[in-house]
Symmetry: C2
Subunit: 407 residues, 2 copies
């Protein structure tokens, strides 16, 4: 049984010469140029690259982002309220929009993360009443979704709702309003604000909690008519690879809703594993967290196992690695690049899948009527014959005519 | 601060002589005769008493139930589908109805438990399709709620929904339909069937899971408009007393819905504590589970602490002990009577609260206008002067005229 059949489509193309006659019995080259599946990664350095005034730093980040583009077609941009708008009214709009446009110009789809979250929330909100915080939360969503409409068409609307009203590590504006409105009450309102502002956008809820609590929350939200377009699942594995059994269990439990699933924040590390007694990952504060040669081999192997399992599941629509390079969140060796931008084995391992095993490149020959038939991974394609080429898209089974012209 | 103020009400009564003139400056006796609060217990032996054909056994159960009446005003009757209707169409209606009437005739309010549950479910259902099982589940609810209308006006409609679709110890009809319909989908339908059949009945959901999962489930159900009249919480403490901290935590988390709370299945034992590694209490199978003198003192003390904490919380409307005598579920020493019907210290401890500290009995004197004023625990009362008496009800603050007559 081919576990990747749902990732492929069949094409039967009739290739015509410029004069409209069939191109009979001639070699043609089929090259997949893009993926329908969303191979994603955090793209925080696209923003940093736009912001820095240091030439050397910009070149270094540019080199990093070029390597990023060597793997991914889907980027997560930061919209944490406390960082996006550190002082009321002073937003990071300019550099964030520049980063989004830079990515989009390179064929990357962009997601904004997150519009509502109790962590990294704006401190200046806390002087307001609960009612005023809620009003500003909804206004903030309308403002940012509107400002990025046509560029960012996918949003993590709300993050970590299961724990949100019970979060007690520090007081914050969003936990306050979640306690007041209830989980479902708040989720309804923030989704409504985003949906009204951009009816065509794909709206996600996202959580690290993969227990029955998140399942029950989703059931309640869908019952309440919340327009959830895809379910976001975090898989930060600083405490060790989940393994295929847990992965299949999570997939089976969250697939019952029939919605697309995004593994929206994936981490696998190439250093020492964080002890299991740590409950909140943020409690693990270390001076340095080195990447090791054995760790790098392990990370590459686990990445391949995990990507293969997820790509094999029909409802998974996206996998996003959280950190592209080592030394970001918790200083963890969680990247596909080291801090100096050198690629780790995991970079090559993912490349072997994304642009190797799971990408279609074929040398074919048209038949006597000019037809060529093949099956390929879903995405964008070019058909090349001699110096002529034609682009086509293979999203579903396809029967079409192509007429290659000079490039 | 008086933590029981919400359990009391103030009365100002004008006492009249038979000829309509005020009863001036005369002694009157105020006796509380019943409680508004529901002090409950499982009443399975009321059914057994109705069913047995053995005179000696009937007398023994009668003695037990008389002691039961010495404490409680609220009984839970068994409606487990697999026992209530062991063969299709052959129900325990007769003995169950007889037990309900016997209790009601003695001032006891009766609850049916449960109408839908994956455990103790009817095996004969399993030959049907899921669609047919659901149809029969809803029909069963309509049939039984209808048959007991006017007698049983309170139902545990559904039990243990958090685990219901994931329950995998054995195949059963209800888990099957819960998987198909979803938790909220099934709860909506079973509550609708009960509510349509008896619109005035108090309908409960009940669970042993007191985690955030149950909170989130309740939020989703209320959002979906399910007519939950009270939240049932199980507190089987075979593995040791929760303690006041956990109790307060549970009360605080489940009180945010503003609904009445029933501690619907309470167990505190007077023997050895079950080890904490046991996850499903039903896995603890022992030949005997003796009650010990130290255990009986501990149980009595814990009962008093727990009842005091719950009675002090304004939203708690009922506390039901699960087993009235030792040796029932899991053979545990969980009763207020030993197996030979002798009372344990917990019986006296509860009596000291229910019919002692929390019951109002006063010797007062009417003033020159015939008025008498007092504050008392909510419930039913008699006012006695000489050989005359009058009954009145003190549910809310009361200003009324009473006219005692010969008893």
């Amino acid at each position: 049984m081919d576990r990747l059949q749902h990732r492929r489509a069949a094409a039967r193309l009739r290739v015509l010469c410029p004069d409209g006659t069939p191109l009979r019995e001639r070699p043609v080259r089929i090259d997949q140029t893009s993926h329908s599946f969303l191979f994603g990664c955090g793209a925080v350095d696209a923003v940093a690259m736009m912001k820095t005034q240091d030439e050397g730093q910009r070149a270094f980040l540019r080199e990093r982002m070029e390597k990023w583009l060597g793997l991914f077609n889907f980027g997560t941009l930061p919209f944490y309220w406390g960082r996006y708008e550190p002082r009321e009214g002073e937003t990071a709009y300019t550099e964030t929009m520049a980063a989004a446009r830079w990515l989009i110009g390179r064929g990357v789809r962009v997601k904004g993360h997150p519009l509502c979250w109790h962590t990294s929330c704006a401190d200046w909100l806390m002087r307001f009443s609960d009612q005023e915080i809620l009003k500003r939360q909804l206004e903030r969503i309308r403002r940012d979704v509107s400002a990025f409409r046509g560029v960012v068409d996918m949003w993590d609307v709300i993050n970590e709702v299961v724990i949100m009203p019970d979060f007690d590590r520090y007081d914050n504006a969003v936990t306050r309003i979640c306690r007041k409105e209830g989980r479902i009450g708040l989720v309804k309102q923030v989704f409504a604000a985003a949906h009204e502002t951009a009816p065509g956008a794909l709206l996600l809820i996202n959580d690290f909690n993969t227990s029955v609590s998140y399942e029950i929350l989703l059931e309640g939200l869908l019952e309440a008519g919340v327009p959830i377009g895809a379910i976001g699942i975090q898989s930060h594995q600083q405490q060790g690879f989940w393994g295929l059994e847990k992965l299949e269990n999570v997939l089976s439990r969250f697939s019952r809703f029939g919605l697309p699933i995004h593994f929206a924040e994936n981490t696998l590390i190439s250093g020492e594993i964080m002890p299991s007694y740590i409950v909140d990952l943020n409690d693990w504060q270390v001076d340095s967290w080195p990447s090791t040669p054995e760790g790098e081999e392990r990370q590459a192997r686990e990445m391949q196992e995990m990507y293969t399992a997820l790509f094999s599941h029909p409802l998974v629509q996206a996998i996003t690695n959280w950190n592209f390079n080592d030394g970001q969140w918790l200083k963890a060796p969680a990247g596909m690049l080291r801090q100096d931008n050198s690629p780790k084995p995991s970079y090559q391992a993912l490349k072997d899948l994304i642009h190797g095993a799971w990408e279609t490149h074929l040398d074919l020959r048209t038949d006597s009527e000019g037809y060529v038939s093949f099956e390929g991974f879903r995405g964008g394609y070019t058909l090349i014959c001699g110096e002529d080429s034609a682009a086509f898209s293979l999203e579903e089974d396809l029967s079409d005519t192509v007429c290659p012209g000079r490039q």
